[in-house]
């Protein structure tokens, strides 16, 4: 994945599938994702660098990288 295409992609969480385990939080290199009140993960699209580590680690496959508009 080129740096350019990575820049445009941002983590998106499917709230209904998220189990709020925090695996994504622990793996994010820039601290761009947090667990909101123990319910689900919330990514900060402003800080997300599109590395997709959260997508890879999520046990519920509740995160996907989507091109930001």
């Amino acid at each position: 994945m080129s740096a350019e295409s990575r820049k445009r992609k941002k983590a998106k969480v499917f709230l209904d599938e998220c189990v709020a385990c925090g695996a994504c939080v622990n793996v994010c290199p820039v601290g761009a994702i947090r667990i909101f009140k123990g319910i689900w993960a919330v990514p900060d699209s402003g800080r997300c660098i599109g590395c997709s580590r959260c997508e890879a680690i999520c046990p519920a496959s509740a995160i996907s990288m989507e091109v930001s508009k």
Binding site: V19, C21, G22, N26, P29, I35, G38, I57, C58
Partner: protein, 195 residues
């Protein structure tokens, strides 16, 4: 940018110590109640799943083995295992098994049942291990019965978690972990979110 690891990443050591101690003195099984009480207190009063997110030794163990040591096939968890029916159903199943264990404890306490000194896996197989003795004489037998029952529950769930870690993504156990489901449910109810 985050670098290195912190002490929370080493919580897997606590998990290993817990299971090791229990194998030699079953009364240490009682310490496992902390893994029930602390997440509940955190979710009820702290409004979060901080235990799962940062402190769960089991979660850290699966991260270490599956993600860092890479002993995981890393397959996607089948849809039914992450469905709400399965997650809440598994929580209910574990609660029923917990109550069943309390009945066995009560039976020993009241004298209507005898002490069963065995670690039982998957509610079926007795672990061929006879070193998990109690601490000594004078200890109420019902506390020993509870310890055997509780350690069996903890070891069974650890085995399920390890199998999930090996086949699916490392922290797949977290998807249907009864404590994780229960604490998320508490947080959702408080915030008025649908379950």
């Amino acid at each position: 940018m985050k670098t290195g690891s912190n002490w929370k990443d080493k919580m897997w050591i606590v998990s290993l110590i817990y299971f090791s101690l229990g194998l030699f003195n079953i009364m240490f099984a009682w310490l496992g109640m902390l893994c029930f009480v602390i997440p509940m207190i955190m979710s009820i009063f702290g409004k979060e799943k901080a235990f799962c997110n940062s402190y769960c030794g089991r979660g850290k163990l699966f991260t270490l083995l599956g993600s860092k040591k890479k002993i995981s096939l890393n397959s996607k968890l089948p849809a039914f295992l992450k469905s709400k029916w399965f997650r809440y159903g598994f929580l209910l199943f574990f609660m029923v098994m917990f109550v069943n264990m309390l009945f066995a404890t009560w039976a020993v306490f009241s004298g209507s049942g005898s002490l069963n000194e065995a670690i039982r896996l998957f509610w079926t197989f007795n672990v061929p291990w006879e070193w998990a003795n109690r601490a000594g004489e004078g200890i109420p037998l019902w506390t020993v019965q509870f310890a055997y029952g509780f350690y069996s529950l903890m070891l069974t769930s650890l085995m399920l978690g390890i199998m999930s870690m090996l086949i699916f993504k490392p922290r797949s156990w977290c998807v249907y972990c009864p404590m994780g489901t229960a604490t998320q449910m508490i947080c959702k109810i408080r915030e008025g979110e649908k379950l």
